[in-house]
Symmetry: C2
Subunit: 584 residues, 2 copies
Amino acid sequence: MRTHFCGLVNEAMIGQTVTLCGWADVARNLGGICFIDLRDHEGIVQVVAEPDNPAYPTAAEVGYEYCLRITGTVRARHSVNDKIKTGKVEVLAESIEILNKSGALPFYNHENPGEDIRLRYRYLDLRRPEMQKTMRKRIALVQALRRHLDASGFQDIETPILTKATPEGARDYLVPSRVHPGQFFALPQSPQLFKQLLMMAGFDRYYQIARCFRDEDLRADRQPEFTQLDMEFAFITERDIQDFVEAMIRDVFSEVQGVELAKPFPRMTYAEAMRRYGSDKPDLRIDLELTDIAELVKSSEFKVFTDWASNEDGRVAALRVPAGATMSRKQIDDNGAYAAKYGANGLAWLKVEDLGKGREGVNSPIAKFLDDATLAAVLSATGAQSGDLILFGAGPWKTVTDFMGALRIKVAKDAGLVKEGWQPLWVTDFPMFEWDAEENRFVALHHPFTAPKVDDVADLVANAKTAVSRGYDMVLNGNEIGGGSVRIHRSEMQSQVFDLLGISKDEAQVKFGFLLEALKYGAPPHGGIAFGIDRIAALMAGTESIRDVIAFPKTASAQCLLTSAPSAVPDKQLAELHVRVREK
Amino acid sequence: MRTHFCGLVNEAMIGQTVTLCGWADVARNLGGICFIDLRDHEGIVQVVAEPDNPAYPTAAEVGYEYCLRITGTVRARHSVNDKIKTGKVEVLAESIEILNKSGALPFYNHENPGEDIRLRYRYLDLRRPEMQKTMRKRIALVQALRRHLDASGFQDIETPILTKATPEGARDYLVPSRVHPGQFFALPQSPQLFKQLLMMAGFDRYYQIARCFRDEDLRADRQPEFTQLDMEFAFITERDIQDFVEAMIRDVFSEVQGVELAKPFPRMTYAEAMRRYGSDKPDLRIDLELTDIAELVKSSEFKVFTDWASNEDGRVAALRVPAGATMSRKQIDDNGAYAAKYGANGLAWLKVEDLGKGREGVNSPIAKFLDDATLAAVLSATGAQSGDLILFGAGPWKTVTDFMGALRIKVAKDAGLVKEGWQPLWVTDFPMFEWDAEENRFVALHHPFTAPKVDDVADLVANAKTAVSRGYDMVLNGNEIGGGSVRIHRSEMQSQVFDLLGISKDEAQVKFGFLLEALKYGAPPHGGIAFGIDRIAALMAGTESIRDVIAFPKTASAQCLLTSAPSAVPDKQLAELHVRVREK
């Protein structure tokens, strides 16, 4: 139906007759001449219909977003438009066919309306060149990943969507079975166990761009269904896996984004990341670090410090905010309120107005509790300079780490201290378990299939609290973009880990019996990783929201505003599925 | 963990030390020497441990399917084994590490046990070289398709799995919403409407290897979830689409299967296919054709023939079975019973024992009802030769077409008349509607979004019964491997087609309101096609069952024997989803 794309018409084509298809991005009549900006996915070209032109009557009818097929001659443009690729040429229309009209638009292409209206008219939203660019970035990312993996001998294998209730900890979406009354499929939270089974099945290298489902309350940037690049390797160590995928991510960023990432990526243990950055996914674009000062303040007179400094589960940490001494009392209070959201009971602070003046040079409600030596030691340990602000957190280790880590990011953003660029790193040596005080049991920090560093079951049991796993995360600019581990490949170890996680033998048999069974038939050592495609695409596209890189996303209340899903269904249909809606 | 793959060890490596990982395909002790056939996905190599060898004690422990890591030296083999790629060499073991033991196996690698046990221990089933080969054929197919499409500017876009009840006619799988009590998502029967919306959104060329779901009673070779290559094009005609995908399929068969398909594919209208082959997906590997003889027999004395020959909705057809005159009475009766399953009320037959002898030369219960001229005309029309059998069907047009078409395939298979090779074709010009006598309304032969050939709404309404659609199927060896159409892109036409299909305005608004709305904003002309990946992979792999090209398929009763899905879930979980199980 066309000879060329609108956005690719160029000066070399002057004098040629072309047929173009697309939408009227703009249609107007200026001084008796019709101008139509005809748009397709490649871009926009100006089409002109002059009054003596046979296409003129049709051109005069054209409105915004009319779908058109236009034949005409390419000619040089009088007034060059530098803003568009085709700005040196235009097409003099010979014939215009209206392929479809458009009614009054809910919004115009050039606007960025509220998200609800964008989602309701998603087909119009996606026509906007900005959204085309964003979506095509995601497509290019996936294509580059596939190319890399196909060339490396990975097998792209589909795993079931209708499957068994999965054990990743989140809530499952369920699907009633018609054939088996009272029974349900679950949608997979990830293909974790299937990819492990594929390694036991001898596929050696597996990947899948896999749809995953979690029925969670949606925080700002979660979706009920999301996409991960799921990978698994047999006969391999964690370092081999990391080296392979690091090279893959570096190649893909180079190809799709034109960005050369660090080679090699920095590496950091979980312990170091939490200590220095208060996060297991530190944003290394921010130079600020936490300073542990428990040793310095443990004999001070500030009770909150001394109590937690001498508690083995406590932490006292300082965060130097460069040039932060100009912060108003209100700004400091706001930071305190922000830290409180992460569990802080209060936020002590100290302004270094003149470092040379010692105690006279600082302004702080807590300075009076610190003797001269302690004050000097704290200033020295944090590397404070005149004009800086120091924030202090004291409390349980995990709480202080969390809120000081969150504060580190907030104050850096507020002060414009986040550097440009891409800062990847590996975080390794995660604890195997975390103690859940509420449930009074261990929970898995990665998932229950992650291998411990120790190979010996008795050793793991004896040292469960401090056991380190063979898990690892890839972090980019403060986002965990990938996480994986070497898996348990021996039945006894898997049973023992279930036991440590408080999963009874019976429960393990019901939920994971097939895995325990499969591990008995020569399961190979194996491991893998999964990358969050939506998040990586959003980072590459420079958008905050993963909804911008999903063609038909759902709202925060898990609705599709375009199709009105979910919706009520006739009771007859539910009867066939042996379920009914519960009355309140 | 390894230096080479087992199956790739070769003579060039003689003298080298290699480290291999894999499974003991066979492990035995012959005359005091341990022989292990070590297998990975590339193949098998023989490993030898002699008694004076430090690896010997471990080698002696190894059982079938133990997972091993072996280091040793490649050497020439005394007795060459021509059956395996590595048959000229073996590896003299220096060290053997047992990575994992295997318990007593439910079946051995070399067996092909019952399908239930294969599915329950799928990870062992898939280890069999035959299954590795079959699955890897599917993987190669998908990879080749993607490569072709990526290179042609197609955009791989994911569409939702949690969506609105879809309208393809089959039963939906439903997913209760937790956030919206009493409401349900449906799993997509295909991404049909989403791909149309993507064309309206300006993506121009779309594809997706898409998971689709139908909650139907599973006939022999259906799965609750299946995979299609879903494609859509904007600004295009059906012939452009067909030419593009025909070239794609030809390329992919050449690349993956080493087969050159006909260029171009033969083309046939629906009417011709039904007339000549009694099927809209004719298997052209079979030369036999149906012959319409209504005109020849309409004044005969055989009432069944004359009645149906003069009925405008009737059909009288003959099928010549070459050399079929040797068929016994029992064989003919069996064919009659087979035809009865497709609706036949009886099957007349005629054996041509000696063509030269006229009436004397035929043996048939119905010959006496045909005068000499009619008999001669029938023999001539069917092209009968001495030794042939002719089968006759008379009845309603659709019934005769169906059972004669089915018979055509059966008698050809029985007589070994199905030729080797690959016979693709296009079937076009499908009727727009089929009359459903039970429901007393039209049903769509493709789906309700298929455009009619006529562009004019009034014309369609006036001639609905005979209207032809812009739909098309790609057929290969009697299988419909792809089906598509140009879609309706105007709101009025879509509303009219819904109306003709007996869908009320209200129902259309509830189910398809978003589509009708979307068509109002300059929707472009568009069309596409979907290919059944499971079926194409099964054809390529030479297996009858699509279950052999799905890693974790379900049984005919829609169960996963490996994970025991579906399964019961705690009522607490159902309460969160606002549903309960219905009591009987």
